[in-house]
């Protein structure tokens, strides 16, 4: 990464690339972690009016620090309104009001199907993961799904162990065949590249490499044979503003979250 004078990390590139995909009029259902950081960077840079919704019931929230949990007080204090959880899932998600559902993944396959439930057999798991939470219905009720994750061969696999949430299934028109009328995963942003589904097969295809990343690096950290777009872009490096915004946000977050612990120890 020679042309990286700002010294951004792959994770920072991932978060910032994801933030750029969000528009000012989007209504995002936000998961914790990288999605939350990306959404808030978007809000603090090019999309000040973006609506961020967390499944704890907070609508139109604008946290000054990133929440550790999906239901931190900061989310409620800065929200336009806070509703009960059944209403969140009935009126706001199922009601078709979410333009972008933003998910992370423990395992993902090339069709954007996600597993966050178990490694191994469901009834005799090798590793029991937390499970889907809101994801099964976020994946089908949001108009589009954006996914962010750091690439590893353990995470990006030929065959996921469990369909926590449905992406494009076996590809093609599988969603439609199940009666799902939303678009599903339309964007995958990793620490190395930007991926979009092939219009026909729906297989995720690399459309842009982050600065300094090679095709080989992408392939080596992915468990399936990677398809690259014919016209492969290079992701613009983070701007100074983007990087500062993200780092400031994370610094405020770190201070806030450690603060409670320190005070306790004191």
């Amino acid at each position: 990464m020679s042309d990286n004078p700002l010294g951004f990390t792959p994770n920072e590139m991932m978060t910032i690339a994801a933030s750029r995909a969000l528009r000012n009029d989007d209504v995002c259902f936000v998961g914790i972690g990288a999605p939350s950081a990306a959404c808030n960077v978007a809000r603090l840079t090019h999309a000040p009016d973006i609506t961020l919704i967390y499944e704890s019931g907070t609508i139109g929230t604008a946290p000054d620090v990133l929440p550790l949990s999906i239901g931190d007080g900061e989310l409620c204090e800065t929200a336009v309104t806070t509703v009960a959880v059944p209403e969140m899932f009935r009126y706001w998600l199922q009601g078709g009001r979410i333009s972008i559902g933003f998910l992370g993944a423990a395992q993902i396959d090339k069709f954007g199907n996600i597993n966050t439930t178990v490694i191994g057999d469901y009834f005799h798991p090798k590793t029991r993961l937390p499970g889907g939470g809101g994801a099964p219905e976020i994946a089908t009720s949001s108009k589009q799904i954006y996914i962010t994750m750091a690439q590893t061969t353990r995470g990006m696999v030929e065959k996921i162990d469990f369909f926590t949430s449905f992406g494009h299934g076996e590809g093609g028109d599988h969603r439609k065949r199940l009666g799902i009328d939303t678009s599903g995963p339309t964007l995958l942003i990793t620490d190395l590249a930007i991926w979009k589904p092939d219009p026909v097969t729906k297989e995720f295809t690399v459309v842009s490499l982050h600065p300094g990343v090679t095709r080989q690096q992408v392939q080596e950290s992915c468990g399936w044979v990677v398809k690259f777009a014919e016209a492969l872009d290079e992701t613009p490096a983070p701007s100074e503003l983007e990087l500062k915004t993200l780092r400031d946000l994370q610094a405020r977050t770190k201070a806030a979250h450690e603060g409670t612990g320190k005070a306790k120890a004191a």
């Binding site: 704890s56 949990s69 409620c76 009960a84 029991r128 889907g132």
Partner: protein
């Protein structure tokens, strides 16, 4: 009609071995003090229901109190896995437990249906999701007007629900505010409800009419336990102890360490110890 009781008595009068019980709270207002009291009283063979069974269910599972859990996200929110729950599911330690797993939408709708007195909830869910294949309590109904196939799950009707709330008035009406989660539904869906509160105020005369207030006749018992939600938080009273959630990951990783922590911090403690735990978090709220 509602009774104001010490927490020890409220738990003893309302929880029984073999009960289906929900200790609800969606990150906010988790009824930790009530869960710890239940642990101290040593109930067995509970069916634990909760959307997000975090630390308190990790603790109850680790203490061998649960025969079954019904849930939609068995994680330490923002941190990672629940290691005592994993040990039970993966290794049957300290006992094997049955699991019934839903999505958040499924659980939220099931509580709603419970509060609404219905036998099942109907919603658009689980399409293409693996849970529908492993959970026999996920079925379907067909819309008689459009033919659309919708998901159906049984309503949740706990024997008893525990929640934590900001305040009660002297009559026993209870106010929940901030991230209200699923608490109202969990109370109304239950046969009995026990509420721990931060404080009791004379009356609610100055409250806005549309807040989430549970009338006194929907509640069996109220216990005043300041700080009773720690390490979760009470909007307007004290902040979330994020550090404690991070620490839990270490404590629960080891069976002996877990036991020692439970002995020192739960078994040998009482509801009265919670107030001190949130003292340093009050400023931040």
């Amino acid at each position: 009609m509602v009774k104001f009781l010490p927490l020890k008595q409220a738990v003893a009068e309302n929880l029984n071995d073999d009960d289906t019980v929900a200790f609800e709270g969606f990150t906010h207002l988790i009824p930790t003090a009530a869960a710890h009291e239940a642990i101290r009283q040593g109930f067995r063979d509970l069916t634990l229901v909760r959307m997000t069974p975090d630390l308190i269910y990790d603790q109850m599972i680790g203490m061998g109190m649960a025969k079954k859990i019904v849930f939609s996200y068995v994680g330490n929110p923002g941190v990672g896995l629940l290691r005592r729950a994993r040990d039970a599911i993966e290794n049957g330690f300290p006992r094997s437990i049955e699991i019934e797993e839903h999505s958040h939408a499924g659980m939220a709708n099931a509580y709603e249906a419970g509060a609404a007195g219905l036998p099942c909830a109907v919603f658009r869910g689980y399409r293409g999701a693996g849970l529908a294949a492993v959970n026999p309590n996920i079925k379907s109904v067909t819309c008689p007007f459009t033919g659309e196939v919708l998901a159906a799950v049984p309503s949740i009707r706990p024997d008893v629900t525990f929640i934590h709330a900001q305040k009660a008035d002297r009559q026993g009406n209870v106010l929940v505010e901030g991230i209200i989660g699923i608490q109202k539904e969990a109370v109304l869906a239950a046969k009995r409800a026990v509420v721990t509160v931060e404080e009791v105020v004379d009356n609610f005369d100055d409250l806005h009419p549309n807040l989430t207030v549970l009338p006194r006749w929907t509640i069996a018992a109220i216990s005043v336990v300041p700080g009773g939600s720690h390490p979760s938080y009470a909007h307007g009273y004290y902040a979330r102890d994020n550090a404690a959630y991070l620490e839990w990951d270490q404590i629960a990783a080891d069976r002996e360490k877990f036991q020692a922590w439970m002995q020192a911090n739960v078994i040998e403690k009482s509801a009265g110890d919670f107030a001190a735990r949130v003292e340093h978090l009050r400023k931040a709220a």
